[in-house]
Every structure is written in structure tokens, then in C-alpha cells.
């Protein structure tokens, strides 16, 4: 911050008119650095969100620009439409199921990748690729391998394990659609967990383990007392982000099942999309998205109160 004499050595540069302002020069420059972020964020988040909220108070036919003020009637309707609670429940199932699976698989992959000696770089690259390839490609490959006409996973499931009959399309079956969505989504997004935890694992100095070894600790004790505490902070953050992302996930569900069969995989984002483009109820769809936001906000606040990811992290930095 300052030099030893207590006087700031920060450069001040040439005179600019800002120096006359009643605020610190540093404040002006500081605010200046985040200004582009603020502008972008206003354009892409604040405006659309305000717009969505405003629209949710109106009755709007999607193709017709007439806005009819209805106040909170859309919200009353949201809570009454029969598919809302089901979609909320399915959204929670999808969110919790895939987050837990991704956490387990992601952590495990990171631990293994950190320890293997041969082919580590190549295998890490292959694993990371799953996160980087377009979702649409994951969907295309998944649709192909689960297709009853020559899909290799469909065939294995039917003939080797007898999970479904050979004529069934598992992605179109009530029993399997949701489970497969969770599995396919996790294949892609577990890598997100892997990237972060692997980065943390690489940051743990070897001398910690050497010291523990000298003290006679076994591998489990080393994991429990060295590895796990160092991972906790990032795991809490990653779980929060992944839960939010999975709850809001639209693309992969739409590409794989379009919410079907019936409503078996309709989560809230899919319901909102369907409400806009199938039911042509733009106002109602926005009410759904505001409810979704409130649900996530409440969950996030509870999560912060329970675990406080940022504090956890600050103490270890």
C-alpha cells in the first residue's frame, strides 16, 4: 500500500480535472476500471431482468405487441397451472441429482488425474474436452447412441443388461428420460468440478505430504487432513455454481427431449420456453422466470448462511 515512511508512493501522474472533484482520485480511477463491466452488465442483465419483471405484470400474446396490465394475476396463475409444481419438482430433481453426481465424479476424476504418471497430459486434455465441446454435439452423439435404430448404448442396455426392450427409445421413455438427462449432462459438466479441484490439488505443496508421511500418517489420513480441507472452499463455490447452472439448464434438455415424453423432463426453463413459443403467453412466461429467480435467490441465500463459501475461502487464502 504505502512505503515505510507512511507516505503513498502510488503514482499520481499528470493533472487532470478530476482532481478537483470532491472524491478521491483513486475512487474515480477504480470506478473507471469497472465501468465497462457495469455497462455490459446493465445491457445484458439489469435491462432484461427489469424488462422481464415489467412484462410479467402484463398479459401479452407473444406475437402481438399489445400489453394489457394485469398486475400480479400472472403470478396467481403461475402457482395454479398444473404443470408448475411438477416442473419445479423435476427441476429440483435434475439440479440435485446432477450436481451430486457431478461433484462425486468430478472430484474423483481430479484425484485420479492428479496422481497418474503416464499419459497424464493427454488424458487431462481428453477429459477437459468434454466440457469444451458444444452441447449440441454431446446431444447429437447421445441421440445417436441411444437411438433404437443402431444406437450402440440402446443396444447394450437392451441386450446386455435388459434395462429396456429393444424397440424402446430410452430418451423417449418415462422411466429413463430423466435419468439419462442427468447422466449425459453430468458427462459434460462434471469436468467443470474437475478443472477447479485439479487446480487446487496442483497447488498443494508436496512437502505437506512428505511431512505427514514422516509423522506416520496413512493415505486416508493425508487425504482427510491435508487434501480435503484445501479443497473445501472451492468445492462449496463449485457446488453453488453448478446447482444454479443445472437448475437453469435449457439447451441440453431441449435438444435431447424437448421436455418430453409428456412432461417427464419439463423443468422450469423448458416450461418458460414452452409458455412463450407454444402457449404464446409472454407475460406468463416472464412470471415463471421471475418465480424461478426468486426460488434460486432464496436457495442461494440459505446456502450462503449455511456454508458461507466466501468466508471459508478467505480464511484459507
Amino acid at each position: 500500500m504505502a512505503s515505510e515512511t507512511g507516505e503513498s508512493i502510488r503514482p499520481r501522474g499528470t493533472y487532470i480535472p478530476w482532481d478537483e472533484l470532491p472524491v478521491e482520485r483513486e475512487t474515480v480511477v477504480g470506478v473507471g476500471t469497472v465501468l465497462p463491466v457495469v455497462v455490459l452488465y446493465t445491457l445484458i442483465a439489469v435491462f432484461p431482468i427489469a424488462f422481464a419483471f415489467w412484462a410479467s405484470l402484463h398479459d401479452i400474446h407473444t406475437l402481438n405487441p399489445e400489453w394489457e396490465w394485469v398486475g400480479f394475476a400472472n403470478y396467481a396463475e403461475v402457482l395454479n397451472i398444473s404443470t408448475f409444481w411438477g416442473s419445479l419438482w423435476r427441476g429440483i430433481v435434475y439440479m440435485v441429482g446432477s450436481t451430486l453426481l457431478q461433484l462425486a465424479v468430478g472430484l474423483w476424476m481430479a484425484l485420479v488425474l492428479n496422481r497418474i504418471t503416464r499419459g497424464q497430459k493427454l488424458l487431462t486434455a481428453v477429459v477437459f474436452t468434454a466440457y469444451l465441446i458444444p452441447t449440441i454435439i454431446v446431444s447429437l452423439v447421445a441421440l445417436r447412441v441411444f437411438d433404437p435404430l443402431g444406437g450402440v448404448f440402446q443396444m447394450m442396455g437392451a441386450e446386455w443388461f435388459g434395462l429396456w426392450s429393444s424397440q424402446t427409445a430410452p430418451l423417449g421413455s418415462r422411466d429413463w428420460a430423466m435419468r439419462l438427462l442427468i447422466l449425459i449432462g453430468s458427462w459434460k459438466f462434471a469436468v467443470f468440478v474437475t478443472i477447479f479441484t485439479l487446480a487446487q490439488l496442483r497447488a498443494i505443496p508436496d512437502r505437506f505430504y512428505e511431512a505427514a508421511k514422516v509423522c506416520g500418517a496413512n493415505r486416508w489420513q493425508m487425504f482427510r487432513d491435508i487434501t480435503l480441507p484445501r479443497l473445501m472452499g472451492i468445492v462449496l463455490v463449485v457446488v453453488l455454481l453448478r446447482s444454479i447452472f443445472m437448475f437453469n439448464k435449457f439447451d441440453i434438455i431441449w435438444q435431447l427431449t424437448q421436455g418430453g415424453p409428456g412432461n417427464a423432463t419439463t423443468t422450469l426453463p423448458v416450461l418458460a420456453y414452452k409458455t412463450v413459443y407454444t402457449d404464446q403467453a409472454y407475460g406468463l412466461a416472464n412470471a415463471i422466470s421471475v418465480v424461478m429467480f426468486l426460488f434460486l435467490l432464496a436457495s442461494a441465500i440459505v446456502y450462503f448462511k449455511l456454508f458461507n463459501p466466501s468466508e471459508e475461502v478467505e480464511t484459507t487464502t
Binding site: M1, E26, T33, I49, R115, T124, I136, R219, S289, F293
Partner: protein
């Protein structure tokens, strides 16, 4: 290490036994990861190199010489596909450049300059993630239409940059905090301005974080379906994901082998990115706080 626990391995195993068990576990795990991680990519590759008539009729495992072909890749020169992929590349590069520049400057500001409410500012940024892209996309359609950005690649670049921004800013902020401020002070003492200090001292040291932020932005842009679907309604500016879905809807017959050839072409850049950048990347993600 508590004293009460007996020395030696888990489950009463000796050290050697424990090591052997650990190695075995590692080997099995590696095998599973190879299988699960590489298998879909392998499957895609082998279908891309197999004659499409064969792919339509039978399950193939390996493109043996009699069914091997590279002719599936001719689909890449199809003007429509070429446009989709070109657009995706433009959007990805545009997003990466915007995100890196803006997040570097903002991250520096948050880490080094004092101004009121900066922590809260960073927290509020993350609230944007609570809104589903589908929720933001629909109003954005109206907003972009009224300011003339609808259907332009710039419009999509702005949207995607703004979406990856909060995370990238966090990353930069926390990363720059790990660089000792003394490095800059040394430059200041020598008479460098704040800008010079930022450019010549901070930015070079930020390389891992820059790569991590770039990768995050790349993944978002390369992956994006929802925003492109809504914001690029015309075919000539659209990107790969919605484009291919539309092409599949319109084409009478788009063989699976062709789709896999296209998919492989779209998978190679990320694979190379992941292979050559991973050490920087992992270093950049070594921030613990969000």
C-alpha cells in the same frame, strides 16, 4: 495426526499393501475414465471416418479399410456449414478478446484500487447468474431489435461477453490479489505510471488467469445454443449450434456420418486448447475464493 491411531495403512494393511491397493485403485479408475471420457470422442471419430451408407445400416466399431473414407468431411465445405463454423469462430474470438480485456482492467481495479462498495459490486455481479439464459434471452431479443443489434455477430459477442464477465472478473480479481503489490511499487519508484505498472508488471504475471478466463469465455461461446438461437434469427449470421439444428430440420437427409464429421471438426479446437494450455489453465484456476 492423532497419536491414538495406529501407524501403517488403512484397514490394517501394511504400507506396502496399502500402496499396492492404492495403485490398483488408480489403475482401475484410470481405465474407467479413459473408457467414459474418451469413448464418445472415439465413437464420433470412427463414425466420421466410416462410409455413411454403412453407418446408416449397421453398427460399426472400427473403420476397417473397406469402409474407411474421408469423404464425409466434404460436408465441411458446404457453404452453409462453412458459414456456421466461420461465425462460431468469429464469435468465440470476439468474446475471448472482450472478456479478457474488460476483466483484466476490472480485476485490477478491484484488487488494487480502493473505492466504495467494491465487494458488494462483485457480489451483485454474480446475481446475474441466477437468471436462466432463456429468461435473459427473450427480453434481449426485444432490446437488441430496438437498438439494431439483432442478427449481428457483435450483438451475440456482447451478450456472451456479458455472461462470462462476472466469473472472469472474479477470477482476475482474486488472481491479481495473489501477485505481491511490491512488484508494482518497484516500478512506481522507478517512475512508472500506474498504467505502465499495470501493462508491464501485472499483465505479464497474469498469463495463467488470462488463459483461464479465455478458456471460460471460449467454452461459453463455443457451447452457446440458447442466445444464438434467439439473437441470430437469420441463417447467414448464425453460429454452429442453432445452425446445425435448423439444417437438420430442413435437410431431407443429413447422414449421421456427416454430422459426426462436422462434430469432430468442432471438437478438435477445444481438444488442442485443452492439451496445450492445461498447465496455464490449471494455474489460473488456482484461486480459492469466489
Amino acid at each position: 495426526m492423532s497419536q491414538s491411531e495406529p501407524p501403517g495403512g488403512i484397514f490394517g494393511l501394511s504400507y506396502d499393501g496399502e500402496t499396492r491397493a492404492f495403485e490398483a485403485l488408480k489403475l482401475v479408475s484410470t481405465a474407467i475414465i479413459v473408457l467414459v471420457g474418451a469413448w464418445p470422442i472415439y465413437w464420433m471419430t470412427q463414425l466420421a471416418f466410416t462410409e455413411y451408407e454403412t453407418v446408416e445400416d449397421a453398427v460399426t466399431v472400427f473403420p476397417t479399410p473397406e469402409i474407411f473414407t474421408v469423404s464425409n468431411f466434404t460436408v465441411l465445405t458446404d457453404p452453409e456449414m462453412y458459414t456456421y463454423m466461420f461465425n462460431t469462430v468469429v464469435v468465440a474470438i470476439g468474446t475471448i478478446v472482450t472478456v479478457v480485456i474488460v476483466s483484466l482492467v476490472a480485476g485490477y481495479g478491484l484488487a488494487r484500487l480502493d473505492f466504495p462498495q467494491k465487494e458488494n459490486f462483485a457480489r451483485i455481479l454474480l446475481i446475474g447468474y441466477l437468471f436462466s439464459p432463456i429468461v435473459i434471452g427473450i427480453p434481449l431479443y426485444q432490446i437488441w431489435r430496438s437498438i439494431g443489434l439483432l442478427g449481428t455477430r457483435i450483438g451475440l459477442i456482447i451478450a456472451l461477453s456479458a455472461v462470462s464477465m462476472p466469473f472472469a472478473v472474479w477470477l482476475m480479481w482474486k488472481y491479481i490479489m495473489t501477485i505481491p503489490e511490491a512488484h508494482e511499487e518497484a516500478a512506481w519508484v522507478d517512475g512508472a505510471s500506474r498504467w505502465r505498472g499495470f501493462r508491464d508488471v501485472v499483465v505479464p504475471q497474469c498469463r495463467p488467469a488470462i488463459i483461464a478466463a479465455a478458456l471460460f469465455a471460449f467454452a461459453l461461446a463455443w457451447n452457446d445454443f440458447t442466445f444464438a438461437q434467439i439473437l441470430l434469427p437469420q441463417t447467414d449470421t448464425t453460429t454452429f449450434a442453432p445452425g446445425i439444428l435448423r439444417a437438420m430440420g430442413q435437410a431431407q437427409f443429413l447422414p449421421d456420418a456427416y454430422l459426426m464429421a462436422i462434430s469432430l471438426a468442432m471438437t478438435l479446437p477445444p481438444l488442442l486448447f485443452a492439451y496445450f494450455m492445461q498447465s496455464y489453465l490449471l494455474k489460473g484456476f488456482q484461486v480459492r475464493a469466489l
